[in-house]
């Protein structure tokens, strides 16, 4: 599938979710195109979703002892802040809210196909908060993450931190007592 213009990761995922729903897929797994995600651990995401009846299973590099990628200090700080915000907003501890290695199962998949944040961190951090607050089942499992082998990252270390801070402020301002992104399940 080729989009005519750049919509960002969230927009690309939403197009993929719509394709999956229209073609009767029960679940989708997100995998980044840079080769960092462990494709051989997709089955672990599926198994966890089945075992715990979870609608969203996130592969966390911070729960894995096998991860060979050590995030920079600013990035680790940003992750801790994001985790704290999610904990305050949902009561759920998510260690790797920006992980793009995750499985989304129906009926959450249908909700994501209908409405999905397209801005920076909307597809990971904000979507996770929305899912939990809409009472979908969200869990984390360990997943190894490798250093990027080819190509260039989309943004540098400090740019990522600045974008994260901006997304954090926007997300906190958008938080409301009742979920507005998704229908309750």
């Amino acid at each position: 599938m080729s989009l005519p213009i750049n919509l960002g990761v969230g927009g690309a995922l939403r197009a993929g979710f719509r394709f999956a729903v229209d073609n009767n897929y029960a679940a989708v797994v997100q995998v980044d195109a840079d080769g960092q995600h462990p494709v051989n651990q997709i089955r672990d995401l599926v198994a966890a979703a089945e075992q715990f009846n979870a609608h969203l299973v996130i592969g966390s590099r911070y729960l894995s002892s096998d991860s060979s990628l050590i995030p920079s200090a600013p990035r680790r700080l940003a992750m801790r802040i994001l985790s704290w915000v999610i904990l305050q907003a949902t009561g759920l501890l998510i260690t790797d809210s920006t992980s793009g290695f995750r499985i989304i199962c129906k009926p959450l998949l249908i909700e994501f196909a209908r409405e999905f944040p397209a801005h920076y961190l909307g597809d990971t951090f904000e979507a996770t908060i929305g899912a939990v607050r809409a009472r979908f089942s969200v869990i984390e499992i360990p997943a190894s993450l490798s250093p990027r082998q080819l190509g260039e990252p989309s943004s540098g270390k400090w740019k990522s931190v600045m974008l994260t801070a901006r997304a954090l402020i926007v997300s906190v301002l958008k938080l409301s007592p009742q979920p507005t992104c998704f229908n309750s399940y």
Binding site: V9, A20, Y25, A26, V31, A33, G35, N40, I42, Q149
Partner: protein, 59 residues
């Protein structure tokens, strides 16, 4: 519910923007797991492999 996911179709979605150097290997790895894969080319300006460049029609 999700209790029978393994018996239903599972789709792997790979959003890609200017990832011509790595996308072929990623897709190959996913297919080796015998899984369906959908690459969503997010308006890349580089030379993505032709087979990943099918138009999005209704999407």
């Amino acid at each position: 519910m999700t209790s029978t996911i393994s018996t239903k179709p599972l789709l792997v979605i790979v959003p890609a923007f200017n990832e011509q150097e790595s996308i072929s290997q990623v897709v190959s790895d996913i297919r080796a797991e015998q899984l369906d894969v959908l690459v969503v080319d997010d308006g890349s300006s580089d030379e993505m492999p032709f087979e990943q460049k099918q138009p999005a029609h209704r999407y």
